[in-house]
Amino acid sequence: MPIVLLAYAADIFISTNLKKSNEFVKGEFTVWNDLYNNNVNSKVLIMGSSRAWVHLDAKMIGDSLGTSAYNLGIDGHNFWMQNYRRKLAMKQQVQPKVIIQSIDVFTLEKRADLFYSEQFLPYMLGNDTLKKVTESFIGFTNADFKVPMLRYFGKGKSIIEAMKMAFGADNPPTRVRGFQGQEKSWNNDLDIAKARLGSYTVKLDPKTVRIFEAYLEECKRKNIQLIFVYSPEYIEGQNFIANRKEMIAVYTKWSKQYGIPFFDYSNDPISFDKKYFYNALHMNKPGAEYFTYKLIQDLRKLPLSYQ
């Protein structure tokens, strides 16, 4: 019994302090905290993967459009996990009127592993919804959601980070309304990928496709204005994907079917200028700012439903 109580106390202590960290797991805790604490409350939501997270400045969008905006972009995850964030956001007091869905060729894939699984640690104990969302990934077991401290086994870095937060270590903010511009210059990720794989063929996950279609239906039903945005992608990275055209065609088909505006910046001049990117898929901070400005000009041409 004392061991069980001690385990619960330790679990609460570590979880409470760990989620204070703004830098750990690329700042994902700040977004999860806002979602679980009902602090998103925005009329404009930005959804997507890391390309949403680093490309779309939510504060700039919100200020320019005269409303509240929040970027729910999650690093390394396909639509399956993006959708979970959206569902949490939809439980907030302020319901979104517009969703800017950042799409790319990988959106409808489903990775096998639970990328950056540490980001879920503080929220797991007794969280059946999160358990359901994550159970199809290689990551956690049933027991991790029920037994205190079990999920922290082998997570030394997380425990140390929690201790640092408990003792008041420096904790500078990283994300602003979910967005985080990257002060990085071009690296050799693409060269390594080309050397290893030659090219890459995207494989659609059927269940993710069904979830995405259900999401489109839900937005239509609830009069949420959905906008597809394919943010700039460096041209050499575009050529790396063997079936890119087929993937874009899928989104084009939905765009026509559901009347969803589709802003595709694949052939925008930004996509041809390496200085705006730090790798083939991701723009750096200057690139993101420039792109967000362009997107705002294009959004202003639409009648946006929150107005």
Binding site: A143, G154, G156, K157, D191, I192, A195
Partner: protein
């Protein structure tokens, strides 16, 4: 059921409590409990192969008695060869069928003969190499008249299937284990505590060292393109520590677990990375296997009697067979051959029995000469393990070629600092404890109790915090 799993953490105390509190009235009940537990343990892997294990046990039990009762040499040989051929037959089919079929077909194709062949979808039963060798050693010892057959089936079955050693050894001998099973075990708290200590150290080696090194090694070996030569070297080194941590860690857990039940198993590792030459390395690495090959293959082939050429021949045979024992792949055979090549000079110059005691025995520091020899032997071992780890010979050659590239002097990529520190701490503890059965055996025995307990809790905390993502024990595939 892995040793480092929650199910084993529940299984072990239950069996322990039943063993010492319910079954301790007699040897019979202790052994029955061990047998039932062992069969349950094995069936958690795959219950279908439990029948194979039981069949193998029954076969050797029966043929052992029949050999002993045989009235003529001819009948004795009949039962002997029946047991050998069935045991090796099972091993051959489950482990080597596809390998030989494919190798034969590939060999024919070199001569322009294209043969269409079919391979079987065969699942390799866990531990088959280990329990088959248990049985073989028993049968051979009876045939040679070294032991009498065990007539108590339960005792014999426990010898073959005792759960701590069932899936990855050590490969026990009837002369060592059976007498212990024939005596009633009385609880000895000092022995049990020592067992727990060895389990703790085994878990540290497996969960912290092996599993963390595995993450890096797997990354390097599977994404070789684009990584620098120095990264490839570190990948090879990490794999070397991975296989040591994994296998010796498992052995420590097995020995420690057995000690909880009052049973001593054969030591399997004796700090092989402090060896000063390859011959010493093989006296310290997977001792139960190398001694099995020495006793049942090397010595019957003539051993060290006869000239140098006979010794070289026998050494080559032993290492080729040892390589093949590890798996149905040319990489294991070449790995075995390479180790034989390493040892041959010491046979020729008669220096293979020079380093019989542990390096720097009785001293804290090794001499520069000892350090040089230790590092050289370790480097040769790590180099050979590249071939062991690679999926094919071509992959191994490609890996080695990448080491010797212009990027050899680049900074290695992707190393986690904490893993390096953990390795350093691990090597220091192993060095300090090298004169004992296992590193932690007597380390801190002179410290105040509180300090010693705090040290063990610190190890436990490190295991909790730094356990790597779960990897299967490497030797389960053998």
């Amino acid at each position: 059921m892995l040793f480092n799993s929650i199910s084993f953490a529940i299984f072990l105390p239950v069996v322990f409590i039943l063993y010492w509190f319910a079954a301790n009235r007699s040897i019979k009940w202790q052994n029955i409990l061990l047998l039932v537990s062992s069969y349950y343990f094995y069936s958690c892997w795959d219950y279908r192969f439990l029948f194979l294990l039981i069949f193998s046990t029954l076969l050797d039990y029966y043929t052992g008695i029949k050999m002993h009762e045989a009235t003529s040499e001819k009948k004795k040989k009949f039962w002997f060869w029946l047991s050998i051929s069935v045991n090796l037959g099972f091993l051959g089919v489950f482990k080597y069928y596809n390998f030989f079929v494919e190798s034969f077909a590939n060999g024919l194709s070199q001569f322009g003969i294209e043969e269409h062949y079919s391979t079987l979808q065969i699942i390799l039963p866990v531990g088959i190499s280990f329990y088959t060798f248990h049985g073989l050693s028993y049968v051979i010892d009876i045939y040679k008249g070294r032991i009498k057959p065990e007539r108590n089936f339960i005792d014999y079955a426990v010898f073959v299937s005792f759960f701590p050693l069932l899936v990855a050894g050590p490969i026990e001998r009837a002369t060592h284990l059976l007498p212990q099973l024939q005596r009633k075990r009385e609880f000895n708290s000092a022995k049990a505590i020592d067992g727990l200590r060895q389990i703790l150290w085994g878990l540290f080696k497996k969960l912290v060292i092996a599993d963390n090194c595995a993450e890096y090694a797997n990354m390097v070996f599977s994404n070789s393109d684009g990584l620098s030569g120095s990264t490839h070297i570190i990948g090879a080194l990490f794999f070397t520590f991975q296989i040591y941590g994994d296998f010796s860690g498992y052995s420590d857990i097995a020995l420690g677990t057995a000690r909880l039940f009052g049973i001593d198993l054969l030591r399997n590792f004796a700090f092989p990375f402090f060896s000063r030459d390859t011959a010493e390395f093989w006296r310290r690495w997977h001792i139960s296997l190398s001694s099995w090959f020495k006793d049942y293959l090397y010595i019957p082939l003539g051993g060290s009697k006869g000239g140098v050429w006979m010794k070289i021949r026998n050494t080559l045979i032993i290492f080729l067979v040892s390589g093949l024992w590890h798996g149905a792949n040319w990489t294991y055979i070449i790995w075995g051959l390479l180790n034989a090549i390493y040892i041959i000079p010491s046979i020729v110059f008669n220096t293979n029995r020079h380093n019989m005691e542990i390096a720097a025995k009785g001293r804290l520091f090794a001499t520069p000469r000892e350090i040089f020899h230790i590092l050289t032997t370790f480097s040769l071992t790590a180099f050979a393990f590249i071939i062991f780890r690679a999926n094919t010979i071509a992959d191994a050659v490609s890996y080695i070629a990448k080491i010797f590239s212009v990027s050899l002097f680049n900074k290695p990529e992707g190393i986690r600092n904490e893993v390096v520190w953990l390795l350093i701490v691990f090597i220091i503890i192993e060095w300090l404890g090298r004169e004992n059965q296992y590193a932690l055996e007597k380390l801190g025995s002179r410290w105040p109790k509180l300090v010693r307990l705090s040290f063990y809790y610190l190890i436990l905390l490190i295991i909790f915090m730094y356990a790597g993502s779960s990897q299967q024990f490497i030797y389960f595939q053998f």
